[in-house]
Structures are given as C-alpha cells and as structure tokens.
Symmetry: C2
Subunit: 213 residues, 2 copies
C-alpha cells in the first residue's frame, strides 16, 4: 500500500488556474496545463469513455495509464469535487457525470457535512471533516490493500507532503508560465531529501518528475 | 548576433540562494544549484583552469561548452560581480581572480560609478548606470558581431526577458526545492508564446529547457 500523488503543474509551479468564469469553471489555462494528459489514449478511454483507440501513446500515455493502476481509494479537496464552485447546490454530484472515472471510494475533505453519494462504476463519494492523517486512515481501510491517491488540489497535496505521508509523487510539468494560481512547491524546502527523483521528457515537451521513497 | 541567457534555477524557480554568510558568500545551497554544471569537464577547464580532462562529458557538459561559445560581450548585475557583498571595497575585482573566464568585455550594471578594469585573458569590466536597452547597445557594439550574454542575476535576466530583448534562453533546473531566494519566473506569464521550447534531461537529473525565437 503506497500513498500516491499525480499532479500537473506549470513550469512556475502553479497547479490551479485563476482565470475561471461562471461559463468556464476550469478556466482557459486549465486546458493548457492538462492538455498533454487529456490528449493521451488512456485518458480518452478512461475519462471520456472513448473506445476508438484515439489519443497519444507515448510517454505521457504511460503515465496516464499508471495513474489509474492499482488505486483503491482517493482523497480529494472540496475544490476538486466542485464545492467551491457550487457551494449551495445540494444536488451537485461532481464534474464527472453519472459514472466518474475513479471506480473506487473517494473521500472529499470538507467542513460542511453532506450525505454520501453512490455512483455508477464503483465510485462513491464520502464527505469528511478530518485531518490529513485521519482521512488517510479511512481511505487506507477502504483501499483494501491497494494504493491510496491524494487527488488534489495542490493545497491538500502540500498538506500531505508536509506531513511526510506521501510515498510516490509524480509531477507532470507543462513548459508554460501561468504566474498566478496556487503554488504546489511553497514551504517544501528540501522535500527531495527523502526520495529518489527520476526525470524524463515526453514527446509533448511535458517534463515528468517522479519522487519515490 | 543573438542575446543569450543561461541560468541555473531550482525546481521551485529560485536562481539565487539566501543562506550566504560572511565565511561562505555563495551559501551552501549554491553548490547544490550549480553542482551538475560545476562537475562538467568544460567548466573545470574554462573556469577552474583544470587541464587534466576531468569532469563529466554528457549532456550537462554539452550545455557548459555551448555556454562559452561565440560570446562577444556580457552584461551582468552588480550582485553577480560582487558589489552587494563588497560595496565599499574600491579594490574589489570580482570573484574570478586575475584571469576571469569571460574573455570578453563585461558590462556591470550599477548606480555607483567605478573605474573600468582590464583583466588578463581578454576580460574587461565596465561599470554602467544604464537601462537594459542602453546597456545592450553598448554590449552589442563591443561584441563585434558575436552574441551578447545577459549573465544574471535573475533580476537582470527578468528585466531583459520582460523587455522582450532575449533571443535564446537556456535554463538548467536542478531537481531540488529551495523555497527562498529570488524567483526567475515572476511576472513572465506567457513568456513561452514567443519561443520554441525544447526540453531534455541530463544524466545528473538536471532538466534543460531552451527557449529559441
């Protein structure tokens, strides 16, 4: 059982964008940040349900495939689930439609209680007000021996990194400068000391860094 | 004639370190930031005058060799020359000894007038109070058709990048987190739009990004 993170950031370290509008809740920068990942065959199959075998099949796709492999539970922040964009909508069920791509128990950290949701395809959403370590205990039990993903956003990921709870961190860096948003790397001086770091460049120009214990 | 920058930064974007002491004017982080570059055969030959052929000969060395190729003049900030560390020493002649590795005219941007220095091996230091564009005009004339390097620190480099005056930017990213210092990337949103960006990973784990017009 490992605790894993996969995150996409810009070269200047921003993991979220700030150009969201009501009409475009992810913002235009988002598509540039996640473009190489969204272009992969594995993303298209797993997230978009596209069975036509389209999409890239190179290094980015290898990471996209690994992303979904052997995950038994996920922990995510309220923002990733959409509770900041839709705080007062009791019927909000996330961004991912009736059959979300997680296919495992997902624990959403939020101070506002909400009843759990059971979705098609094996995904459930449970809303927790808990510390990172407490949420990890819950997720670990639910994961049944498989890995637990800390799904983001960057503030949650940083909390887990600072608490020393992450075993495997994969960061995909898009070679673009956003200059605003939430920084992943703040207050993580010397993080590399506890890990072996491996780097490679994908055909898309995306830089992949992997931190392993 | 191109205007070129080569800079080493940490993964979180810091190009200078802040752990300097009177006994260690570069700070301990500095050796981690520039370690892969300082280990190359080209650096050892050109900067240390080590003719034993020692040092690495891989991808980092290719960049270190290119660093010195076809440079006709350099512009640097007062901090790089050492005027912040030794502001009141009229005999200060830079960090590099009697025969600095530049071997070309060097223009040091500073508000405090100082007489020019002529060093062994073809290096001269001229102290200028000038705008980035004015200093570039001076350096361009001195470069005699060769390239002009903007040598740093990061604040000077950022001034030139923001002014759109840089043709070729090479950034070597050490996969370490410093969490303090001067950030290279601040206020450069969308810089990549004017360039073709090429990335590769060296044997040392250093990430090399090159922005070409």
């Amino acid at each position: 059982m490992r605790v894993r993170v996969d995150l996409m950031i810009s070269l200047d370290g921003f993991a979220t964008t700030t150009d969201q509008t009501p009409d475009n809740p992810f913002g235009q920068d988002w598509s540039r940040l996640v473009g190489a990942y969204a272009a992969t065959r594995s993303f298209r199959e797993r997230v978009l349900g596209d069975a036509n075998g389209e999409g890239t099949t190179g290094i980015d796709d290898r990471y996209a495939r690994d992303y979904f492999d052997n995950i038994g539970a996920e922990i995510m922040g309220a923002g990733k689930f959409g509770l900041h964009a839709f705080p007062d909508d009791p019927d909000w069920r996330g961004w991912w439609g009736d059959e979300p791509p997680f296919r495992c128990p997902v624990f959403v950290l939020t101070y506002r209680p909400r009843p759990p949701l059971s979705m098609a395809g094996g995904t459930s959403f449970t809303f927790l007000s808990a510390t990172p370590a407490e949420a990890l205990d819950r997720a670990r039990q639910a994961a049944n021996g498989k890995d637990v993903r800390i799904g983001g956003g960057p503030t949650i990921v940083r909390d887990y990194l600072k608490a020393g709870l992450v075993d495997h961190l994969h960061v995909a860096i898009a070679p673009i400068l956003l200059d605003r948003g939430v920084r992943l790397w703040d207050d993580l001086r010397g993080l590399e000391a506890g890990y072996t770091v491996m780097s490679e460049v994908a055909e898309s120009g995306t830089l992949h860094l992997t931190y392993r214990r």
